[in-house]
């Protein structure tokens, strides 16, 4: 295999929210764990589900369904938490993302990825890196750093304070 080919291929982890398939860069994912008890932090918006105990450290969990404006889902056996590492205010922060189910790890060449559509999507284009196709199914590839960028979190903080007062 040539070096160029290696650079062009990236591995993604696909997961579902509702009926849609999403994916994120596997290099951002630390692990996937089963759903566990989440402790809600009072005075925070609903999509911030709370914190969990990840082998002794406290990790915040975000419900991606609620974050993307979908309805809240009941927990099933497939519900899981994707633990990702994202840069936040210059530090690497470990964060959990709640997903309905995790599917598979697949490879995608750069040229197989289309830019996000300009209309007809339910998501803010900022979060989307591109659209991939795998087994005749469209997959929305998320830019996970953007999803949890500090701009997004500022909104989180303001709304959090609003609820508290």
């Amino acid at each position: 295999m040539s070096v160029a080919a290696m650079i062009e291929t990236t591995q993604y982890l696909s997961f579902t929210l509702d009926d849609e398939v999403f994916a994120l860069d596997i290099s951002k994912v630390r692990e996937v764990m089963d759903f566990t008890t989440v402790t809600k932090v009072p005075g925070t918006p609903e999509f911030m589900r709370g914190v969990i105990n990840l082998r002794g450290s406290v990790v915040p969990v975000v419900d991606l369904r609620l974050k993307f404006g979908m309805s809240k889902a009941e927990k099933t056996v497939n519900t899981c938490i994707i633990i990702a590492e994202i840069p936040l205010d210059g530090d690497t922060t470990v964060i959990g993302a709640l997903a309905d189910s995790v599917q598979e790890v697949f490879e995608l060449k750069t040229d197989q990825m289309e830019p996000p559509p300009r209309i007809g999507k339910r998501l803010d284009t900022d979060f989307i890196k591109g659209m991939g196709k795998c087994d005749e199914q469209f997959i929305i590839i998320l830019d996970i750093d953007r999803v949890f960028s500090s701009g997004e979190l500022t909104v989180v903080h303001e709304s959090g304070r609003g609820m508290l007062l």
């Binding site: 566990t36 008890t37 402790t39 809600k40 932090v41 009072p42 005075g43 925070t44 911030m48 709370g50 914190v51 969990i52 105990n53 002794g56 450290s57 406290v58 990790v59 915040p60 936040l88 205010d89 530090d91 922060t93 470990v94 964060i95 949890f148 979190l153 989180v156 903080h157 959090g160 304070r161 609820m163 508290l164 007062l165």
Partner: protein, 722 residues
């Protein structure tokens, strides 16, 4: 090698701060020869180990200062403010050199030169005269080369390298005729270390045969010193040829120590050749003390026995003090290791609470007793680990002496700093993070608080201002006070400035404390002119953030014209606290046990009787309460009887209503991370025995939030019904 260089630098930084402290102390007590000795030792160690690890520039530079302090030690020049100033800047220069070796900013050679020239000027006379003074000083140098303090007594911390010698010096009979006084030689020996001399007089003849010009006496000397054997031989260099001199090492600083004390008297005498083994055996039959027996038996005279006894006593003394020093010794551990130890203990505490919970659940007596033992041990381990991290705050205090000195010089004010409670211990992290806030507070006190000497005298105060730093334990907190007797805060001026900036509205009634709190608003400053010291309004914001990050609080008390007192209340430790676990609906929360006063029940009838007001009757006193369920908007049914946890927050009693009080909980504090950094009312999280996360409540913040909320409601009501 790099590791050694690092170790040297660690040590050097420590020595430099010690040097600074000693110098400042020396300024207060210029005559104290003990402090001069300390300054000298610190510099000497930096010089010596610097040269060893290739910091030649540092060694060379330090050597020059050391030369000056050698003269101070010999009383040739006296301690002046100028000398202290110069030495302090020299100290700073050494620090820069150390930093520079790390790739830090380059050192300023010009400044180094200036320091050197000014230092040399302090040496009496001109440059040439300096050469002369150095000449005669040379022999003294030889003796003191190895750090022995000016009195010649080895200081306890240098005891390690001490060697004990047995010296027998028998001068030739005609030594007096040659113009040598043996007593002077013995005096010189005495100066090198701890020394005991026994004169042996058995060779002195009867008076009729006595020649007054001959020396019949000879001496046994037991000497403990850091000098090598050659240095001792050098003392006798002029008499060596016709005197009988024997030098033996009898204790070489620990390497020869055996478990049982020192040799027995008989062994000493045999070893010296004063007694032969057979004689000893003959005498050993009787019961008297061996020395007495030997004398009685006539095999040996009293002088010899006395000398041997003194050797015995001296060597056991030396060993005794060395043992003491060893048992007091400490080891240097990197703080990273300590941090990970604390982390591990934290996890152990979590696991232990899980074990206790499981044991209680299974109700197996054997398991329960094991769980109890583990709990006790974990508790002790926790306390011990925490105490390792505790440091006296005094180290920080002494740093501020320098700050006060520099600042008051710069501003032309006379400020005396007094401290109290320097031995108060605080967690290492707290002390480190306390530094910046304290610097800002002290700068503020000196710049804004303390007036110029003229102004002070005009208002009937002493010309010099006082900044008093104190630290004291108060429950699970430490109170740190910064008091000054300066001009105090002007509440009117602060409010006027706040109005001007639109920080408060005109009609707002504010208490004095609320007004004072305005000085913590970023960018707030009542000073018209920004000075190099302060006035930009940044400092107090830094203070507030720093203290809040430590879960502490700030209290200001001030009287115009009389001074300001700022009290910082800080928790003892950051890592683990005792907490009270409570339950609200399905959620668990922890309240710091240090603020909890007690728990009372709150029944439906009580609530009804209070007509919806959140005030409970606690032993005849009204106590307002905050209903956590309402405040956190948790939707669930209310049990028939709720519990109120009564706490003391900022001097007043507040209750927190919860569904159930679970009990005491060893709380390992975990940060919620930057994701939740701005959530108010929650200061952190902890992991419970079953692995779930419980949130730690920040009672003062909760109270503030509720107060603001209610104030908002009232002001709205007021607008609606004018």
């Amino acid at each position: 090698m790099d590791k050694h260089r690092e170790a040297f630098k660690d040590e050097a930084y420590e020595l430099l701060s010690e040097l600074e402290t000693s110098l400042l102390e020396l300024e207060d007590a210029p005559e104290d020869i003990e402090i001069v000795g300390r300054v000298f030792r610190a510099m000497h160690t930096i010089k010596g180990s610097g040269a060893m690890f290739g910091f030649d520039d540092i060694a060379a530079f330090t050597h020059e200062i050391e030369t000056v302090f050698d003269l101070v030690r010999n009383g040739e020049i006296s301690v002046t403010k100028e000398l202290i100033d110069l030495t302090l800047s020299a100290r700073d220069h050494i620090r820069t050199m150390l930093d520079a070796s790390d790739g830090g900013e380059a050192t300023n050679e010009v400044m180094a030169g200036e320091i050197m020239t000014s230092l040399k000027k302090l040496i009496p006379g001109s440059e040439e005269k300096k050469e002369e003074t150095e000449g005669p000083a040379a022999p003294a140098d030889l003796i003191d080369e190895d750090d022995s303090s000016p009195t010649g007594l080895p200081s306890p911390d240098t005891q390690g390298g001490n060697i004990t010698y047995r010296i027998r010096f028998r001068p030739s009979r005609d030594i007096f005729k040659k113009g040598t006084n043996p007593v002077l030689l013995l005096d010189e020996l005495r100066r090198t270390g701890k020394c005991k001399v026994v004169a042996q007089t058995d060779a002195i003849p009867l008076l009729k045969d006595f020649d007054p010009e001959a020396c019949y006496t000879y001496w046994d000397v037991i000497l403990t010193t850091r000098q090598g054997i050659n240095a001792i031989k050098d003392i006798f260099i002029f008499v060596e040829d016709d005197s009988e001199l024997s030098i033996n090492i009898i204790d070489d600083g620990g390497r020869l120590d055996n478990a049982a004390g020192y040799k027995r008297l008989g062994e000493i005498l045999i070893e010296r050749g004063d007694l032969i083994h057979e004689d000893l055996q003959k005498v050993l039959g009787s019961q008297k003390p061996i020395g007495e027996m030997l004398v009685d038996a006539g095999v040996i005279d009293t002088g010899k026995v006395q000398s041997a006894l003194i050797e015995q006593e001296h060597v056991s003394d030396v060993r005794e003090s060395r043992r003491k020093a060893e048992s007091l010794s400490s080891i240097r551990v990197s703080s990273g290791k300590l941090d990970s130890l604390v982390d591990l203990v934290g996890e152990l505490v979590t696991v232990q609470s899980r074990l206790s919970r499981t044991a209680a659940y299974q109700n197996d007596p054997e398991l329960l007793s094991i769980a109890e033992v583990v709990e006790r041990l974990t508790c002790e381990l926790r306390d011990n680990t925490m105490s390792i991290r505790m440091l006296p705050i005094g180290t920080t205090f002494s740093k501020f002496r320098r700050l006060v000195r520099t600042l008051s010089n710069e501003l032309g004010k006379e400020v005396v700093m007094t401290t109290e409670g320097a031995e108060t211990e605080l967690d290492k992290t707290v002390i480190e993070r306390l530094n910046d806030p304290l610097v800002h507070l002290i700068r503020n006190s000196i710049d804004h608080g303390i007036e110029l000497p003229g102004v002070r005298e005009a208002s009937g105060k002493p010309g010099h201002g006082t900044v008093h730093l104190s630290a004291v334990h108060s429950g699970a907190n430490v109170l740190i006070r910064i008091e000054d007797d300066g001009s105090g805060l002007d509440a009117k001026a602060i409010k006027a400035m706040a109005l001007e900036r639109g920080l408060v509205s005109h009609d707002l009634e504010m208490t004095e404390k609320e007004v004072f709190a305005l000085i913590f608003v970023p960018g707030f400053s009542t000073v018209k002119n920004v000075t190099g010291v302060s006035g930009r309004g940044v400092g107090m914001d830094v203070v507030k953030r720093g203290i809040e990050a430590l879960r502490g609080s700030i209290d200001i008390n001030s009287k115009k014209g009389a001074g300001t007192t700022i009290t910082l209340k800080l928790p003892l430790t950051l890592a683990i606290i005792d907490g009270l676990l409570v339950k609200v609906a399905e959620e668990f929360f922890v309240l710091p046990l240090s603020i909890v006063e007690g728990c009372v029940e709150l029944s439906r009838e009580d609530v009804a009787r209070a007509h919806g007001r959140h005030v409970a009757n606690v032993r005849g006193e009204p106590v307002p309460y905050i209903c956590l369920k309402e405040h956190f908007m948790i939707n669930s049914g209310t049990p028939g009887i709720e519990q109120i946890v009564i706490t003391e927050v900022d001097g007043s009693r507040v209750g927190f209503v919860v569904d159930d009080v679970i009990g005491e909980h060893q709380t390992v504090i975990k940060s919620l991370g930057s994701f939740y950094k701005d959530v108010e009312g929650v200061s952190g999280a902890t992991i419970m025995g079953d692995g779930r996360v419980a949130l730690i409540l920040d009672a003062p913040k909760l109270l503030q939030a509720v107060e603001q909320e209610e104030a908002g409601i009232y002001s709205k009501n007021a607008k609606l019904n004018p």
